[in-house]
């Protein structure tokens, strides 16, 4: 299918016989954040003992019937709204029939022809300065399967049904992505939106967000090539690697005059290759048909509007507001809204203060330190209020920039009220010109040769500023030092 995106030369891959364009589309399986499963009251908690969160419905006992969990419906609609998508007021649950030990009913309840959410789009930040718009084809609700355990018994496989029946949202993108970088950025952005909405925690390690990545290659301007689906890639880094590796594999085949088989493949991060999953997989016929145990899922516009009204501010809108309200750069804005918690932290710091300064402190000092120490906002030893207090002391020129960094260090390791620490430890900036003059005089007297040099080369003043600051223990007001030095050295 033709897509609206013009070819960006930066995305082209050089092959032996010319340029290739990579085409990527994705199916994301996002576990709905809900207490109970999609059609039963069993818990969705992660990490329970095997088969400890299994209701009669989940185990498909005879005569059991599914009952839709309204919270999952609400979350799917909210997600649809967050993806600027069409919400279908009537959707239908279908049965996808196949036999597998971890599929107790012998069918998965899914939505086939009439999903709850139709077309939408996501603005993806490929870099803080490059945005692309990626089409969303649909979002539908479906049941997760259980888990087969092959390493628990010498001759048998065991089955854990804790996940069986947990609600998933399958979010299908258009084939609008053109590189590994874009694929990574798409998942990153989608995950950010889901987390903002609170509809999926996006935890890929727990398998709560999984991606099936469809990759094909073509000569620029030509129709789409045959695609391969790389199943169940479970980290953003691996998604990028899988796209590159698979595209290279396909290009090599095509350049050798071969053809691509449409198939399902698996990415092996250890070997850095994709492998065919064709374990004699008989052509599956899923015999989809509407689930007669469930009525069509219907709700009205008023319900959707209520959910729309209560939607939180999403990252794109928040970024624009930060730029407008706090004067941050688009780059800093993108960094700050990456996580809802970071954005909230920034807003608390920036509130009633200079936005740019707040952004600098939050991004450079705070995020830098968190990264270095492997912490996040929840486990941070320093609060937004403390950082705000440091900025306030700096703004009122009570402390210098240098001291401010020292103060940040003290608060990070020891805690406490920044103003009290400054007071108690005598870290206050010296603005008393008399006191500064004394220090300057001493420095000048000790370095007559440098004084002569400075008169000839005025930029040498920097050296004197450094010496004076050092002698004052960093507490001298740098502007005052500068002015006084200029006067005493006779340079303008």
């Amino acid at each position: 299918m033709a897509t609206g995106r013009a070819t960006n030369p930066k995305n082209l891959v050089k092959g032996a016989t010319g340029d290739w364009e990579i085409i990527v589309g994705m199916e994301i399986h996002a576990q709905v954040s809900s207490q109970a499963k999609l059609f039963s009251g069993a818990s969705t908690a992660f990490g329970g003992a095997p088969n400890s969160h299994v209701s009669l419905v989940d185990a498909a006992m005879p005569g059991m019937l599914p009952v839709i969990n309204e919270e999952c419906v609400r979350q799917a609609i909210r997600t649809g709204l967050g993806l600027n998508a069409k919400i279908n007021l009537k959707s239908i649950f279908d049965r996808k029939n196949y036999f597998y030990p971890d599929l107790p009913q012998g069918y998965q309840i899914s939505q086939y022809k009439n999903p709850i959410v139709g077309e939408g789009e996501i603005v993806v930040d490929v870099s803080p300065t490059e945005q692309i718009t990626v089409g969303v084809e649909r979002l539908h609700l479906e049941q997760d399967a259980g888990k087969s355990l092959h390493d628990q018994h010498p001759t048998m496989s065991l089955v854990d049904l804790n996940r069986s029946g947990v609600a998933l949202m399958e979010i299908v993108s258009r084939p609008d992505l053109r590189s590994a970088e874009e694929a990574r950025a798409y998942v990153t952005k989608l995950r950010t939106i889901l987390r903002y909405l609170g509809t999926c925690d996006g935890d890929m390690e727990k398998g709560n967000l999984r991606a099936d990545v469809n990759v094909s290659v073509r000569r620029p301007g030509e129709p789409l090539g045959t695609r391969c689906e790389i199943k169940n890639v479970n980290s953003i880094r691996f998604i990028g690697q899988a796209v590159d590796v698979e595209a290279r594999r396909q290009i090599a085949i095509l350049e050798d005059g071969g053809a691509i088989d449409q198939e399902t493949r698996l990415y092996d991060p250890a070997k850095g290759e994709t492998r065919s999953m064709r374990n004699k997989e008989e052509a599956h016929d899923y015999r989809y048909f509407p689930d007669p145990d469930l009525l069509p899922l219907e709700f009205d516009d008023a319900y959707v509007e209520t959910l729309r009204r209560d939607l939180p501010e999403l990252p794109d809108a928040k970024k624009q507001r930060f730029i407008a309200q706090y004067g941050v750069t688009p780059y800093d804005g993108a960094v700050l809204v990456g996580e809802r918690a970071s954005a909230d932290f920034f807003e608390e710091v920036a509130s009633g203060r200079d936005g740019k300064t707040a952004a600098n402190w939050v991004i450079n000092e705070f995020f830098g330190r968190l990264n270095k120490e492997g912490k996040d906002i929840d486990t941070s030893p320093i609060s937004a209020a403390q950082i705000g207090a440091i900025i306030d002391l700096l703004g009122k020129q009570v402390i210098s920039g240098k001291i401010a960094k020292d103060l940040f260090e003290i608060v990070w390791t020891e805690g406490g009220d920044p103003a009290a620490i400054v007071e108690k430890r005598g870290m206050t900036q010296v603005t008393d010109t008399g006191a500064i003059e004394k220090v300057i005089d001493a420095v000048l007297a000790a370095n007559p040769d440098k004084v002569a040099e400075a008169k000839a080369k005025p930029t040498m003043i920097g050296w004197f500023v450094g010496q004076v600051m050092k002698s004052s223990g960093g507490k001298a007001n740098p502007q005052a030092v500068n002015q006084l030095l200029k006067a005493k050295l006779g340079i303008e």
Binding site: L56, A59, A60, M61, P62, G63, M64, L65, P66, V67, I68, R95, N97, F99, P101, P104, Q105, G106, Y107, S157, V159, D285, R287, Y288, F289, D291, P292, D293, L294, L295
Partner: protein, 504 residues
Amino acid sequence: MSELITLTLAEARDGLKAKKFSARELAQAHVDAVEKARALNAYVLETPDHALKQASRSDERLARGEGGPLEGLPLGIKDLFATEGVRTTACSNILRDFIPPYESTVSSQLWRDGAVMLGKLNNDEFAMGSSNETSAFGPVASPWRRPGANTYVENGKIVGEPLVPGGSSGGSAAAVAAHLCLAATATDTGGSIRQPAAFTGTVGIKPTYGRCSRWGVVAFASSLDQAGPIGKTVRDAAIMLRSMAGHDPKDTTSADLPVPDYEAAVGRPVKGMRIGIPKEYRLDGLNPEIDALWEKGVAWLKDAGAEIVEISLPHTKYALPAYYIVAPAECSSNLARYDGVRYGLRVPGKDIVDMYEKTRAAGFGREVKRRVMIGAYVLSAGYYDAYYLRAQKVRTLIKRDFETVFDQGVHAILTPATPSASFGIGEKLKADPVEMYLNDVFTVTVNMAGLPGVAVPAGLDAQGLPLGLQLIGRPFDEETLFSLGAVIERSAGRFPVADRWWEG
């Protein structure tokens, strides 16, 4: 106390209230009758201890002047209803030893109302059949015999030419007709309540789809399955339905509507009601006896003051073929859970696929396999549109046929219940399965449209076997069916089995 078993449900209820006998005596009489009727094979599991214990508790409650609407009344439960701690098999080998840890909503409502369980009743395997011959526990013999035929019991076995009680609720119908319970639960997917009721001279009602909860009832075809009672009289069926019906949040297809006092509708005048006679039901080659019976029914209702109008249900002829696409399609999916992994029969295999195949090959009978295969076929890629989708379209048209007629002011529709009286065990088993399917020709349309339908005994054929008439009602208007059914019952009389030959 064997005369206690010949009481109707209503009479037994009133007798208990009046302290003419105890619930324990009533239960014991039935337990004894059940034991003596094993040759009929109506029960696949007898629960006499359970029954007597429940009856004793009922006696305590009755002594205190308490007790529900079914207090102390012994019932039989079709083996499709899950009963907690009591084996429930759907009469299939694949569930031969299955003991559910839960109670179906319908049966739990019966116990809530004080009823007593005598045991589990035989049925066609997974309710697939019209003669009760597909049961893994073997066929049920009807308590009716052809008067001329030399049919009797020898060494606990029936010798001669036993008849089928119909199906799939053959055990329920036979047990009610043979006084082996006061009433029974049953289910109806294409006629499984009404056809056996008609074959045994009992009253069976399939309520509107959604009237009774399907939770805990082993599923055959989810969009068609509906539970209902089989009773000795119209009043008994009405009493039973009141307890069985009601909204269940665990079944989203169950209707959130109040349950009327159905018994109050029995005896209500039908004067001025418009009764439709569908011309499409006058099939070519329709048995003249059936036709004559139908005419009688018309006359009885007319005498009672009803207005008879000819109506047209033009898509009737497509109902049976469409039904035999929809029902197998749903069953092929519903029965996928019987895979040997979690419960029920497991036949080991060299790998998982081999285990599935061996388990299902050993666990399912021929008719179930046939329908699973038909169902898988009509849903498969390339055939879905031609079969399943078309059948669903036909279903919509059938529903519309009825809506049109009801919109024209028709209150109910009168038709024959079955194209013939009962037939011999084994008689149709060897024939083309389609011949068996034709038994449902008058009943499936009702399931396809989700409407209520009642079969009421109306006479005997030339061989002396019972025949029934069917009344089809508007959605959730079972009350009208009970009123009209009572008129037919009053006019035709009741048709109890002449003697208890099966006791040997």
